[in-house]
Amino acid sequence: MKILRLLGISWWLQLKMRSRSAFDGLLSILWPLFFATSVFLMFRQGAASGPALLSAAVGASVMGIWSAVSTTASAVLQMERRLGTLELLVAAPRPFALLLVPVTLSMATIGAYSMIVTLLWGRFVFGIELSVASPALFVLSTLVTVVAVAIFGFLLAVASVRYRVAWALGSTLEIPVWLICGFVVAVGDLPAWVQPVSWLLAPTWGMAAIHASAQGRNPWGDIAMCLGLAAVYAGVGTVLSHVMINSARAHASLALT
């Protein structure tokens, strides 16, 4: 109960902070929208229609959830360092992981806004029919994907706590995840050696659940896989965060100076 409250309040205040910069917000929605538009144009050129087009639209809109996290998660600890708050977070009598997950969750929440904007863009500019077979399951699958992406981002953030140029690696991961996790391209269409990597990434299963709900198939298997993998990431990330923070304490890299 106490943990839920901590996660909830942290998430809410982080979201408040992030949504206060109109400029940053604009870019985080606009950037994936450019790519989604390219995808829409390509499918329209290919005379796609009905389920294929909807699938492309849905997949393209989910790209925004990952965009919002990938580019900022790897830099979040450097930003806290610059604000001078990283030390205060470490000095709090809580496991550091519990403090970091709400941060990436707030980023993924903004990604969810981006998803909605992209879907509306598809509907009103490209006339794509947004008829989803099971709306409730669709929303649930989306929420599960948001959580999975947030935890993936948390893993990314922890892995980059010692490295001040990690943001470059983080932003480089943006497009690979779109491709490998089957957002707009079916995992089956990717080279055989890539597919195991796809299956190990939680967002792949979240995306599959979303596609399934949109097309009226059963998403529960995918949801379970997604949450299961996310739980593994959370575990690994927690252990890693403990190690990383101790390393930072030993090497004095919690502060800027």
Binding site: L26, F34, Q45, G46, I175, V185
Partner: protein, 261 residues
């Protein structure tokens, strides 16, 4: 100081000074890995949507990614100068301004050029796209011209950056617009009329089209007109950029706003 020396040294030093944080850990992911993945993304989307062929997307996205260094670097240069407080010095320097700016542009153009060539080579190998040896020269020319015109746009953006705060956001938006308008992933004929019309005035549109024709075996003579337009556009943007720079500087001196941080 002769203009040529200013051209070379001014360019190299400011570029390096501002990109001093540019370690291989940043340069390789941003300039090589990311563009390659972008190429792969659109190749696979193209296959899924049943449009274009691998070579189409390879050339379009490879040349588009020349825009990254071109747009960002020019913008960064001016923004960085402003941040360091050396912008007034730059504009007041006794050296003739034009060689100075072209000096700053040269490493940027080379960077854009190098990024595209590497992406083309590696991409072609990965996708098993054939680019016959005789096309390499002409392709390199098309890439060079495209890099130049992008740099011109970058210069215009850099001039605008004197008044606007965040160049990086602007550069990202321009990159996105070019991706949609310049026929990178969708041929102009399949785009709405007004989009295609606007694209004629943007860098990369003609360069990419020319490069695609060259890759299919057309000779340089066949694409000469397009390359000419591309180069001309580049020049136009340079002129507009420099003009804006001088005007803004004059205006800033009047209102003393050049020191805006």
């Amino acid at each position: 100081m002769s203009s040529l020396r200013i051209l070379l040294f001014g360019g190299l030093t400011s570029y390096r000074a501002l990109f001093r944080w540019m370690s291989p850990w940043i340069a390789i992911p941003v300039f090589i890995v990311q563009p390659l993945f972008q190429i792969m993304l659109f190749v696979y989307v193209g296959r899924t949507a049943g449009v274009g062929d691998d070579r189409f997307f390879l050339i379009g996205n490879a040349i588009l990614n020349a825009a990254i260094p071109c747009l960002f670097a020019m913008g960064n240069t001016i923004d960085g100068e402003r941040y360091q407080g050396t912008l007034p010095l730059l504009l007041a320097s006794p050296a003739r301004r034009i060689p100075l700016f072209f000096g700053r542009a040269l490493p940027v153009i080379l960077n854009g050029f190098a990024v595209t060539i590497i992406c083309l080579c590696v991409g072609a190998a990965m996708l098993d796209v054939s680019l016959p040896a005789e096309t390499w020269g002409p392709l390199a020319l098309a890439v060079a011209v495209s890099s130049f015109s992008c740099t011109g746009l970058g210069l215009l953006m850099a001039a605008v950056a004197l008044r606007v705060r965040d160049v990086a956001v602007l550069a990202n938006v321009v990159f996105g617009l070019l991706m949609i308008f310049a026929g990178v992933n969708v041929p102009l004929v399949s785009l709405p009329g007004w989009v295609a019309a606007t694209a004629q005035w943007l860098p990369l549109t003609h360069g990419i089209a020319a490069a695609r024709e060259l890759a299919m075996g057309a000779g340089v003579a066949g694409v000469g007109a397009q390359l000419g337009v591309e180069a001309g556009l580049g020049l136009l943007y340079c002129v507009l950029g420099l003009g804006t720079l001088f005007w803004l500087e004059f205006d800033s001196r009047r209102k003393s706003t050049l020191e805006i941080s």
